[in-house]
Point group: C2
Chain length 366, copies 2
């Protein structure tokens, strides 16, 4: 039957979703998870001041949020010591990554990422018809030299790097990121996803330089700030790049409660520091649990730990499956050799106790 | 200096924002608005049950929302008696309109709208590089025959119609919309924006027919439901079209508090009916105020009324300017001959009293 045709790009897309949500898994399996340690959310929650601000904002939710996100962007700009014109707020880093691809990559243009890195970025690349080129991880880290080499070889428009890295939690020192940046052609944009910057060692995060035109830094309130549900991410870049976002973004895409909550969370840096300490302690606790069961944990600078189950992925698959059956929501990297691991988000003592109990049971029958 | 290049489409875009927010106006003018009647929000607010649900959800905002929006979509599907696979939820109708253009229109493809209709739709058309063709309003209504003629002439991929119409509040009976739909080629998609369906006469809203492949219906929680800040809109269409949205949408773009609030609002139809009555009464009150000042009001099926200030727009410009100076946020259609009007959102008695007082003062000195 004749019907409106999708564009060639959309018609060719697979029906692929980067991350099936835990709720869909719960519906499918018919029971609820006992602990939620699979999406790198912060079970420690946001600042109580953010919660109070959001409760109050619920009463004002009949109004659109300020489409300029002026108060939030001003606070972000002050926090990072950059200008308002260097900041754009989006519906999570995810939303901003989609816009970035759209702004800089025409169909067929080459975009480089690491094989096994953030699948949502890949989703946006493919769904805009750009050509995705993947460079393997080396020693569980994104291969910065390999990425730069590939970028030059393919005349790439964009190179994606996450630091700290998801799904492994590994990181490079700022000096190595700076070398990658310097090695890229001026026309190649470095998309530096720093969703996990807040839990990383200081020396992993390069100084912000908004005079450089070929780098965008991405941050979020979804991780250490504990506001994944708010969908507030932001990007910091040179003024012309930010002006590009203004040309394409959904100006009324940001929700009022999230906008207000993020602002209050940003203002409560003391709370954030406390959470970062709890996350650090939880990383050690997860590592200890792994070691106790003769598994190794990949050192992590993020709010999760990848536990190496060894071999070529079959054991990790079995462990994942057993944990899910025991009501423990965790995830497993999708690509070899990373998929020999399971990825466990940081949790409170009670969350990790349930995780450990389940892990013990699962390993006992393998 | 060499720098990453925007795509040709993005490089050619103007720095244009469809709607400057009232907050930006307030910052510029240096004082706050006394009443907020410019953005067709619902000052009557959402259901108290929705507010309570959002307050509770603020405590759960450390979790991502279900990316499938399963509970909300299920309730929407049940409410409209369609299948789950006929519903997609987006960041307001705005977000869904952007995706629609992206799904169906390649650069250069023709898209038809009315000259003076929703500028955010135009923004998305232009920002995707499609060719926007505008058909004049006739008698303050979208010209359905003209739109169909233009669609056939230009082999359009999309025809945009809002019913009831924004910014005039006028509407067509369902039978006329059905005629337009029937007059379109099967390959031309009818984008039927029904943001104001909840305040329209029943006979203005065609039956939903999800077996037709060339129509998408758009609804929102921003208007009569009183949740503009939540950014929850949805589209109803045939299953293949909805599957297309799934290929391109930002799956984690919906905020948790908004998702929960919309669900609670949908369940409280009694409250919605009460608000619709208040909106209806407010339309009459605005009309009476206009008439009292020897202005005419355009009959409206939306949650606002366009007041005809006469002439060619100069008087409306003066009235708008005077109202803004008096702290009354209203808007004015952007295009002749619609711009002879000012557009006033429905308000409570106290809001309209301030509006009337300001209008009286403004008119006295014109």
């Amino acid at each position: 039957m004749a019907r409106p045709k999708f564009t060639d790009i959309v018609a060719a897309l697979p029906d692929f979703v980067p991350f099936v949500g835990p709720e869909a898994q719960e519906r499918k399996q018919g029971y609820s998870f006992r602990v939620r340690l699979g999406a790198n959310e912060s079970v420690f929650g946001p600042s109580p001041k953010a919660i109070a601000a959001m409760e109050a904002a619920a009463h004002e939710n009949w109004k659109y949020a300020d489409p300029d996100n002026f108060d939030l962007r001003s606070a972000i700009a002050a926090h990072h010591n950059v200008a308002l014109s260097n900041v754009v707020v989006g519906e999570g880093i995810d939303g901003l990554l989609g816009l970035t691809v759209r702004m800089f990559a025409a169909p067929g243009d080459a975009i480089i990422t690491s094989d096994g890195a953030y699948p949502t970025f890949n989703f946006h690349v493919v769904s805009h018809g750009a050509a995705l080129i993947k460079v393997p991880f080396v020693d569980d880290r994104e291969d910065l030299i390999g990425l730069a080499t590939s970028a030059r070889k393919h005349n790439a428009r964009i190179v994606y790097v996450s630091n700290p890295n998801n799904p492994m939690g590994t990181w490079w020192p700022a000096s190595e990121i700076a070398k990658l940046h310097a090695a890229l052609p001026a026309q190649t944009l470095l998309v530096l996803d720093e969703a996990y910057a807040d839990t990383a060692p200081t020396n992993a995060i390069p100084e912000l330089d908004v005079t450089s035109a070929n780098i965008i830094r991405y941050r979020t309130f979804s991780k250490a700030y504990g506001l994944a549900g708010a969908r507030i991410g932001y990007a910091i870049a040179d003024e012309k790049t930010i002006a590009g976002f203004e040309r394409v973004r959904n100006h009324y895409g940001i929700n009022r409660v999230g906008q207000v909550g993020a602002l209050a969370a940003l203002f409560d840096q003391a709370y954030l520091r406390g959470v970062v300490q709890e996350i650090s302690a939880a990383r050690e606790a997860i590592t200890a649990i792994a070691q106790k069961h003769n598994l190794s944990a990949i050192p992590s600078a993020a709010n999760f730990v990848a536990i190496d189950c060894g071999g070529r992925g079959q054991k990790a698959e079995q462990v994942l499956s057993g944990l899910l059956e025991a009501g423990v929501f965790v995830r497993r990297p999708g690509v070899a050799p990373l998929n020999r691991c399971i990825r466990v988000s940081c949790g409170r003592g009670e969350d990790l106790a349930i995780f450990e109990q389940a892990l013990t049971s699962v390993l006992a029958v393998l």
